[in-house]
Amino acid sequence: LAKTTQPISMDSYEGQEVNITCSHNNIATNDYITWYQQFPSQGPRFIIQGYKTKVTNEVASLFIPADRKSSTLSLPRVSLSDTAVYYCLVGEFRDSNYQLIWGAGTKLIIKP
């Protein structure tokens, strides 16, 4: 089964860089790694997606080593508004249907 393991929670301070690592030892060859952010009382919001090496957009970077068994979401210079739950997702086939599997996520708390 392709599943992910992330820290349950993390704390950091405003202005710091935050790195959240996710392990996915059984990731399938053609599977992408996707990260979502969720604020309380809101639906998840897409942050970034990658297959290998490094991907960067306006809000985050995603680092994926060559073996693809883990990935690291990097948030540069966080602010209080980055306090949220962050989910790392990979997919798996269940009864021939492809599904994204959501874990419990990492609760990130940013302090002033």
Binding site: Y32, T34, S41, G43, P44, Y87, N97, Y98, L100, W102
Partner: protein
């Protein structure tokens, strides 16, 4: 609107009552997903539509749960004879493709069964 819209935002149902939750996806999005999210947990997959076809309903927890998308746009998740364990946030998401693409989520419907 530009995003995924869900209604109602909040629903309180008496145990045994039937409820219907609505999802308006982003126009033109082929794929539509329903998820159930319990407090403090990640979303759990319920069902998937490609246009009007329900291609995967493996996550529906019982035959009391039913979903439809008759014209390939608006979708309704119906729960019959609600039970207390059905209390959760129900999330709808739409996307252009099923896999390896950004999914856009609505704000969810919080269902409380009393």
């Amino acid at each position: 609107g530009a995003g995924v819209s869900q209604s109602p935002r909040y629903k309180v149902a008496k145990r045994g009552q039937d409820v219907a939750l609505r999802c308006d996806p982003i126009s033109g999005h082929v794929s539509l997903f329903w998820y159930q999210q319990a407090l403090g947990q990640g979303p759990e997959f319920l069902t998937y539509f490609q246009n009007e076809a329900q291609l995967d309903k493996s996550g529906l927890p019982s035959d009391r749960f039913f979903a439809e998308r008759p014209e390939g746009s608006v979708s309704t998740l119906k729960i019959q004879r609600t039970q207390q364990e059905d209390s959760a946030v129900y999330l709808c998401a739409s996307s252009v493709l099923r896999v390896n693409t950004e999914a856009f989520f609505g704000q969810g419907t919080r269902l409380t069964v009393v």
